[in-house]
């Protein structure tokens, strides 16, 4: 360990050159090194100064969110810019935006797990946490946008004094089930993956309180191989269940639009298009978060340059998928021969919201193209900037879909230009406060990297001798 004690002071390319081909875990020779570098963060008395700065900032924004919600509840949804004909304004845009971000986590944990992509281990805990917090933000918007929040429980099939049931043929109710299931399963997945690591933190804890709290949540995990056996089975099953789930959730979200007969919404391409967009935005968010985190907490040897490069490739690929979807929408608008459909798309690109449309195209389709170059895929500041661009672009995608399809509907007399109110904008900003508060707390107290899984992909985790029935892989 001493040899690489200051591994974090090495530059990325130096780190890379140390091992060839790039290994998943660089320069951490022993299992203990991994434990040490992950656990020492939660055990440290103080965090880096930037953590405090960010946390204060996040708390401020969280406060703004609280104030806006209070204002909304006591005054009514009229405080927002939503009105005819754009009845679905910021709340829905923000909802779809956050749910989309919440997709990368489960995708990385589940889909890449099924495909046996070892590189997921460096970033999965991280992105799972991101998923949970993003889904929290997402769930907030539909819940507060109903106007009479105190009867929001009507969305659940609970026997009530009206003797009525929710309408199961409405995509909005499908949303309740899809997002609810997604949140539950992601939470289980995240927590289950964390239990062995919580046990590690418990066993290293020095104070009574920590032993107690980590101990409670570690459930008494003792690393028994008989437990590991069922644990791994359950983990595989959860991954297998989460994979179709993650695809279904954004498909269902897209049904909110596609089932309505509004030109610009009523298309069959929506489910795959939304799923691609979700993966795209989710990976961008993972990059936005992990680039500062790996520098701040010293994870450069765990979240390596190779991880970042791979994520850049995913972003480029999904960016082209959404680009294809944008083009295909235009093609179908023309090919269908439907006047209204055609009008909507011309209006999108050249109408009053052309600025939003072209922001979206330049951020989502054009900017990731730079990742064709290996130099760009290894230039951290550039990657960070592009990841922010993609986040912005994907927010605008949802804005464009929602607002441009509604603002000029069938009846020209009701055409209107939608503009958000200050409350709209502050609520959106506040939701970032919620997200980052939760995320920074996670970084502070919980294992940010799946310790046991990272150990599992290290060379020393694989048996060398010939052990009877042991199968070498």
């Amino acid at each position: 360990m001493a040899k690489y004690a200051n591994v974090n002071e090495l530059s990325d390319s130096q780190l890379d050159n140390l091992l060839e081909p790039p290994a998943l875990v660089q320069n951490a020779e022993t299992f203990h090194d991994i434990t040490e570098s992950v656990c020492s963060i939660a055990e440290a008395d103080r965090m880096p100064r930037s953590w405090y700065v960010l946390f204060t900032l996040a708390l401020c924004f969280l406060g703004v969110l609280g104030a806006m919600i209070f204002h909304l509840f006591t005054t009514g949804v009229g405080v927002w810019g939503n009105n005819q004909p754009v009845a679905w304004g910021f709340p829905i845009v923000n909802f779809v935006f956050w749910v989309g971000i919440g997709h990368a986590g489960t995708l990385i944990s589940a889909v890449l797990y099924l495909f046996r992509q070892g590189w997921r281990t460096g970033i999965n805990r991280f992105s799972e946490a991101m998923t949970i917090f993003a889904v929290c933000c997402a769930g907030l918007f539909p819940a507060i946008h109903v106007g009479r929040v105190w009867v929001i429980y009507w969305v659940f099939p609970i026997p009530n004094q009206m003797d009525m049931w929710p309408n199961f043929r409405s995509p909005l109710l499908w949303d309740v089930f899809a997002v609810g299931t997604y949140f539950t399963v992601s939470l289980l997945f995240w927590y289950m993956g964390m239990v062995p690591d919580l046990a590690t933190q418990r066993d290293r804890a020095k104070t009574k309180l920590r032993q107690f709290l980590y101990g409670i949540f570690a459930l008494g995990w003792n690393g028994s191989n008989r437990h590991w056996h069922r644990y791994e089975r359950a983990y595989l099953l959860l991954a297998a269940l989460a994979t179709p789930l993650v695809l279904s959730v954004h498909s269902v979200v897209s049904f909110d639009f596609a089932v309505a007969q509004i030109p610009g919404w009523h298309t069959t391409i929506f489910p795959p298009y939304f799923v691609a967009g979700a993966i795209f935005s989710g990976f961008a968010m993972v990059l936005t978060l992990s680039i500062p985190a790996r520098a701040l907490f010293g994870f450069k040897h765990i979240i390596t340059m190779r991880h970042i490069e791979l994520m850049c490739k995913v972003i480029m690929c999904t960016g082209m998928l959404v680009g294809y979807a944008y083009a295909m929408e235009f093609f179908m608008a023309w090919y269908s021969g439907n006047r209204y459909e055609g009008f909507t798309f011309v209006n999108r690109a050249f109408g009053p919201y052309a600025w939003a449309y072209w922001t979206m195209v330049s951020c989502n389709v054009i900017s990731p193209q730079i990742f064709w170059f290996k130099r760009a895929r290894r230039c951290i500041p550039l990657i960070f900037v592009i990841s922010i661009f993609v986040n912005i672009g994907m927010w605008f995608e949802r804005f464009v879909i929602t607002v441009t399809s509604l603002n000029r509907d069938f009846l020209p007399s009701s055409w209107n230009y939608f503009s958000p109110t200050i409350v709209d904008i502050l609520t959106l900003a506040g939701s970032f406060g919620l997200f980052f508060t939760l995320f920074l707390l996670f970084c502070r107290w919980l294992p940010q990297v799946a310790i046991s899984e990272v150990k599992n992909v290290m060379p020393s985790a694989h048996p060398h001798g010939n052990h009877g029935e042991v199968n070498h892989d």
């Binding site: 299992f31 106007g147 043929r169 590991w228 001798g465 029935e469």
Partner: protein, 389 residues
Amino acid sequence: MAITGRLTMTNQTSIHGILAEFDSVDGILHAAEKVKQEGYRKWDCHTPFPVHGLDGAMGIRQTRLPWLVLVMGFAGCSGGILLQWWTNAHDYVFRISGKPDWSLPANIPVAFEMTILFAALTAFFSMWILNGFPRWYSPLFRAKCFTRATDDRFVLAIDARDDLFGEETRKLLESLSPNTIEMIEAPIEDGKIPLRLKGMLGIALTLLLLPPAMIANARFTKSTQPRVHIVPNMDTQVTHRGQEASDFFADGQAMRLPISGTYAQEDDRLIGEQVGFWTGKENGAYLSSIPMDVTPEFEDRGRARFGIYCSACHAVNGSGQGTVHLRAQELLSKTWVGPTDLRTDAIKQQAPGQLFESISNGIRNMPSYSSQIPAADRWAIVQYLKESL
């Protein structure tokens, strides 16, 4: 070093088991194979991560977890379908846009999500239950070497309750060249939850039960108090009916007059020459004839319009015994004024213009039909009343 492990320090009497610590994957794999060969049954390996091949080396049988998950997945799917059928097609039928009461495609998304939800919950909870969790205390936590079993050491533990356990066990482990060997003694009482913690848990649980109890109470009792309005102005908004007074407007009326210059679509035609055609009157007197050409088609149209607009009340033969009237009598409505018998002389003697006016503007309890029936058709009905009824 679980929480309760250190909270109970009791007299130690018997041996709980023996531990051997290894520092490599190969070490533990080799040891596990040996221990298995010797025929031990109550033993286990504790590792910081799942070691490849250890299941085989220990001879662990496949868990039945996947079957549980499969069964519960099916249960979730059928439960989801049943829920939707019962709520939307049976108990409270949704009749929207002429759609069938029950159509499976629309119910697939929710059924799918329920399948996943049930299966995932089963995978999660049955894994912990089959593993015997949560069990915050284990005698193993007392061992010194055990704290690193979740870090970088691989520990093999043989339980003292194993039939083969004895002096040879120690020798066997020594022969496997471990880092250390450690005996653990069993505490008399296995880690009990401290009383204070129990009390706190009890109080927390009771408090948690309070809100649902209050809701259940409110559900089944009646109150003389008005409903709680969280945001009053959303529940009780100021609304006015047509003829009500209101302080809001200067003229004291709640209802607004149409913007000046507004007129009904037909009004402009009133200004034309054929005033009688539109009003049934000329110079204050009722028209004595129909101001239109009376053709067979015109008479047919009159009969048809009468059937459509008038027969519901006045009956097809004009007797006044239409279905609306019969129904009203069935309900024994005291204030009901029956439709007039249109075959009586009193009606027959009326001028066409007067009949036209009754239809156009309504009369006493009968409403106006001018907005529903165009003027030409009203004249056709008058022709029918006069000549054919």
